[in-house]
Each structure stands twice: as structure tokens, then as C-alpha cells.
């Protein structure tokens, strides 16, 4: 199963349509489960629901062979957490899909580091879906513990200076 998710804040018809078109071009041999937000495009080749809850979202990711989504950090983090192959299409300001181009920047960074595949434009999508079948994402080196330790150290430093019971 391929899980398609566009996030919840804004519609993202460009991606939904591109996947729908790509499905007719490719023979996927796999079901697509789609969360498409409040878009107006109705896909012909797969069923879509506007929203799903967090638990189902996680469940779909864990069960999917790969995930196609917008370049939202929450989704990228979740999918990389499960080590699943991922193809993102960044929302772009020039198409009115988002208020700034942070998704573009994030997609480039994670693409360069070998964690995800990126289709910047609709016409790139079918080709990238083909690559997705054999794509092995680089393992994520989690540094959150280092960041937490830095903050813990700071807290230890200041706890000596703080005045209590003023």
C-alpha cells in the first residue's frame, strides 16, 4: 500500500492530481490510501478522505510500503521515524499552496542528505514514483539527545543562580 498525505492546513490539489495522473501512466500493482485535505480535485484512481486522526495516520505510515506527501516537517519526521521510503512534493508559494517556501528548502536539504526523494513539479512525479520502488532512505542519525543534553547542562548552570521564594 502507498500512503498519500497532503497535511491538514491547506489543500494541495497539485499533488493529488499528479499522483492520480501518474497512476494511469504507471502500473503500480499497489493500492493507494489517500488523505487529501480540503482540496476540490476528486481523484479517479483511488479513494480519498479529507482528514484522518493521528493514530490512523501513524498506522498507515507503519503499514505502507512507501509514502508520498507534501514536505511538511511533521510528516517527514514521522515517515523517517519508520524508515519508510518517501517521496515529497514541496508546497510552493508561487502556486499559492503555502505562505512561504520553507517546504522547498526543507525538501532540498533532506533530498541532498539522501533521506527522501523529491518531485518539485507535477511532471516529475511519475518518474520519481518509479524510483521510490527501489529507493533506500539513508538512516537517520538522531541527535535530539545531544540537543536535550545541551539544554539540561544550561538548566544545571542556571539552577545555581536562580533565586527562589522571592
Amino acid at each position: 500500500m502507498i500512503f498519500l498525505a497532503v497535511g491538514t492546513q491547506f489543500p494541495f490539489d497539485r499533488l493529488v492530481k499528479a499522483v492520480d495522473v501518474a497512476v494511469t501512466e504507471l502500473s503500480l500493482g499497489e493500492e493507494i490510501i489517500a488523505q487529501t485535505g480540503e482540496g476540490s480535485y476528486v481523484p479517479r484512481n483511488f479513494k480519498a478522505v479529507p482528514f484522518i486522526d493521528k493514530n490512523l495516520f501513524e498506522k498507515y505510515i507503519s503499514q505502507a510500503s512507501s509514502v508520498i506527501s507534501h514536505a511538511g516537517m511533521g510528516t517527514i519526521a514521522a515517515v523517517l521515524g519508520y524508515g519508510k521510503p518517501m517521496l515529497v512534493m514541496p508546497r510552493q508559494q508561487k502556486y499559492g499552496e503555502v505562505v512561504n517556501d520553507h517546504q522547498l528548502a526543507i525538501a532540498r536539504k533532506f533530498e541532498m542528505s539522501g533521506h527522501i526523494l523529491v518531485a518539485y513539479e507535477a511532471q516529475d512525479l511519475a518518474g520519481k514514483i518509479n524510483q521510490l520502488k527501489t529507493f533506500v532512505p539513508r538512516e537517520r542519525d538522531s541527535q535530539h539527545q545531544m540537543v536535550a543534553e545541551r539544554i539540561a547542562r544550561f538548566l544545571t548552570e542556571i539552577s545555581g543562580e536562580q533565586k527562589f521564594g522571592e
Partner: protein, 153 residues
């Protein structure tokens, strides 16, 4: 063993909060409470003390910002945290400024989504932060008093 401090964890529901909660080992042994924007994350925050939901706000809706601001002032006056820890966005920024006024130390971790420049909230908080971490090395190099300690995600 450091003294137990009261720490306010402030972040918008969604990616900001996800990043903040990955740092949970940082505030081990301290008491915490949370300020966030939506009650859909209440369950997630259960184990981090009292949770205040102040509603969504962004630059496009000034009236909402005002409402959130008033709620945040009430929270700060009631709780008087020793430390603010935030990953953004607007609500974190507001809480950091209010916390500073009441004498809290400010810890800001700029969200990983800000690749080429610090977030707007981050740039504002930068002036008052006691510890400012970015998640991209080059951002830390570009700014004085910004450290890179790794990526949370």
C-alpha cells in the same frame, strides 16, 4: 543534583510541539507546565504538568494575537516560571517575551524547518534568549550567540 525549577514548555500544536517533546530528557527532575495552541494535543501533553490551551494565532489575525496575548499574560502572572523553553512559533515567542519580563531564563530552539534563515519568532526572541539553539550549522555560524547542538528531528 540541580534544584528543581519550574519550567514552561511553550509550542504551537504540530511540528513545533513534536520537536519540543523530543527534548523531554532535558527537563528531567524539574517541574513543568505547557502552553500550546490547540486541545488536539492535550493527551500528548498529559505527563508534562498543567496544560494551557491559548488558541491559534499568527500575524494575519491581529485580534486573535491580542486574545492569545491576554491569556498568556494571565498564565505568566499565575505560574511565574523560572525557565521558558520553546521551539516556536508565535505563541512561544509571546511566552518568551512575557517570561523575560517576569525574570525567567529563555531557552529557544529554532524549528528545523528554518533552513536558510532563523524563523521570524526566533529573530525576535534572539535578543532576549539566554540559550539560543539552531538546528542547522550554518545558521549558528551566521549569528552571534546562536549555537548548533544537533538536529532534533
Amino acid at each position: 543534583m540541580p534544584k528543581c525549577m519550574k519550567i514552561c514548555l511553550a509550542a504551537s500544536a504540530g511540528g513545533h510541539l513534536t520537536q519540543l517533546l523530543r527534548l523531554q530528557s532535558a527537563w528531567n527532575g524539574h517541574s513543568t507546565f505547557c502552553v500550546t495552541t490547540s486541545d488536539v494535543v492535550l493527551e500528548k501533553l498529559q505527563k508534562y504538568g498543567k496544560v494551557y490551551v491559548v488558541g491559534e494565532c499568527n500575524r494575519q489575525h491581529l485580534l486573535k494575537v491580542l486574545l492569545v496575548l491576554i491569556r498568556c499574560i494571565r498564565i505568566i502572572l499565575k505560574e511565574r516560571p523560572d525557565v521558558m523553553i520553546s521551539t516556536g512559533a508565535a505563541v512561544g515567542c509571546i511566552m518568551c517575551f512575557l517570561g523575560k519580563v517576569t525574570g525567567a531564563k529563555i531557552v529557544w530552539v529554532d524549528s528545523i524547518t528554518n533552513v536558510d534563515r532563523l524563523s521570524l519568532s526566533g529573530r525576535l526572541v534572539w535578543r532576549i534568549a539566554d540559550l539560543f539553539l539552531a538546528q542547522w550549522q550554518q545558521l549558528a555560524e551566521q549569528h552571534k550567540n546562536v549555537e548548533y547542538a544537533g538536529k532534533i528531528i
